[in-house]
């Protein structure tokens, strides 16, 4: 199973401690890696189809980027292929535009049913995986709600509604991270996210990952789908969880 990592801070931050630990603890993931971040308000992604960490050694590019990338939001993904071929193009994160903003998306889980989805508005070129289709579906859903909004378009509400519809139309297991450089959304309906604020051993930004016991021997808070709901959605800005809603 793939794994996800996010750092969120009020000002630009690097993740030279937590990203390498993420790569080692997510060591079963052998089919690629990617790091997404923002420079000013433009999204950038560096990715590879190689191991992030293998036989005690980090991928040279991953290690250097972990030291160098500086952004309010950093999204990382290490891949174990369940859908789509193994190549750089299918490594996450992905970038698409919506409402003039760049959006970065990374996903873990398995949702074969959504592979047949075809967006009329956005397209991740050359990507043939459930993750790519999920990203397109989410932006389509938000676009439809944006066009249908009579006055004020509320991002959190639109994404919560779209995620609910996604699960209903295309059942599957979804953990995703989605950010436009101003807010980070984290959704889960399987496994869990663990979260740490004010780490004493790692970066002091808000850290979030799917790696089961977190990235340090500190008190990581576990968030998983409550019984009776089909998932939960969090909105994170800076080092704060602004909203968490069961769906």
């Amino acid at each position: 199973m793939c794994d996800l990592f996010a750092l969120s801070a009020a000002t630009n931050y690097s993740a030279p401690k937590s990203l390498p630990i993420f790569a080692t603890r997510a060591g079963r993931n052998m089919d690629g890696w990617g790091i997404g971040f923002f420079r000013k308000n433009r999204a950038h992604v560096e990715k590879s189809a190689a191991h992030a960490y293998h036989w005690g050694r980090f991928h040279d590019g991953f290690q250097r980027l972990a030291r160098v990338v500086s952004s309010k939001f950093i999204i990382a993904h290490v891949r174990l292929r369940t859908s789509g071929p193994i190549d750089e193009c299918h490594a996450h994160p992905f970038i698409l535009q919506f409402q003039g903003d760049d959006w970065i998306f990374a996903h873990n889980g398995k949702a074969p049913s959504i592979e047949s989805y075809r967006s009329q508005k956005v397209r991740l070129d050359n990507v043939v995986s459930d993750s790519g289709r999920t990203f397109e579906y989410l932006l389509d859903g938000m676009a439809a709600r944006y066009e249908g909004s009579r006055d004020v378009f509320c991002l959190f509400t639109a994404l919560a509604d779209t995620s609910r519809q996604l699960i209903e139309e295309y059942p599957g297991s979804y953990n995703y991270l989605l950010t436009n450089g101003s807010v980070l959304f984290a959704f889960s309906n399987h496994r869990q996210f663990v979260l740490l604020k004010e780490s004493k051993n790692l970066e002091r930004a808000l850290l979030l990952t799917t790696v089961e016991h977190g990235l340090s021997e500190e008190n990581w808070e576990r968030f998983s789908r409550p019984s009776g709901s089909i998932g939960f959605l969090m909105a994170i800005v800076g080092s704060d969880i602004l909203f968490r809603e069961d769906i």
């Binding site: 009020a10 308000n41 004020v152 436009n180 909203f243």
Partner: protein, 246 residues
């Protein structure tokens, strides 16, 4: 009645297009003005007890600040005599550090009894005007709710704090509470005007109590009847949440 203004953007941006018009439209407010913004995670405030606008001339410093201040969050307030004293320190915005942020606060409205509120936490806002007590009250509530549960949602905790405030001190409220990344707004009277600016105008969100800052398509938002008020959360140029407090 005082007036308030806020700008929220994804990157540092100036409000030079709107702040001078905000000052002119609010010129009947003759008891001072203030502009709050961020440098990194530090809140900075410039304020004055002088009139923001004299006949048709906007206060020179206000004009210069409007051109120069660039920040992801900018809040401004122009004061009427009801809002308190006449010393510049008594003008909004007020600041308080808590929960790992320095917060900016501006308020419009009338509340009975809150001037007697005594905070249990340090520091206090060192001025003797009731909006400062509103900020201290909200700070105290947020700290009590989040001190031992830091992973709780900030937005939900603020809504609970506002409900508590309205229960303890009923009155008319319209305020902005902001840190370096997020703008919160609550109001239970008047209406707020909201504009999402396009990318060519900074990809920003502007919210104000004054109508007609431009001829663009502003949206008026009002508190619904039979609710406690309206709550808005913005991050960058986006409204994340807009809903009723019940």
């Amino acid at each position: 009645m005082c007036d308030i203004f806020a700008l929220s953007a994804g990157v540092n941006y100036t409000a030079q297009q709107y702040l001078p018009i905000f000052a002119k439209k609010g010129r009947q407010n003759m008891n001072g003005w203030g502009i709050g913004f961020y440098r990194g995670d530090q809140a900075l405030v410039e304020k004055s007890s002088e009139r923001v606008c004299n006949s048709e001339q906007v206060h020179e410093s206000f004009q210069r600040l409007a051109r120069v201040v660039d920040s992801r969050i900018i809040v401004s307030h122009i004061s009427c005599p009801l809002s308190g004293g006449s010393h510049s320190a008594q003008n909004h915005p007020f600041t308080l550090p808590f929960l790992n942020h320095v917060w900016l606060f501006v308020h419009v409205g009338l509340i009975k009894g809150i001037e007697n509120y005594v905070t249990a936490n340090e520091p206090s806002v060192g001025v003797d005007v009731y909006p400062a007590r509103v900020l201290e009250y909200l700070r105290d509530q947020l700290i009590s709710r989040l001190r031992y549960t830091p992973h709780e949602s900030l937005g939900t905790s603020l809504v609970k704090s506002i409900k508590s405030l309205l229960s303890d001190y009923p009155g008319h409220y319209a305020f902005f509470l902001a840190n370096e990344s997020v703008l919160f707004a609550f109001f239970n009277f008047r209406s707020l005007m909201l504009l999402r600016e396009s990318e060519s105008y900074g990809n920003s969100l502007v919210v104000t109590s004054i109508e007609g800052l431009s001829d663009k398509e502003w949206v008026a938002i009002e508190a619904e009847k039979n609710t406690l008020g309206k709550f808005l959360v913005a991050a960058g140029p986006d409204v994340l949440y807009l809903g009723d407090v019940k």
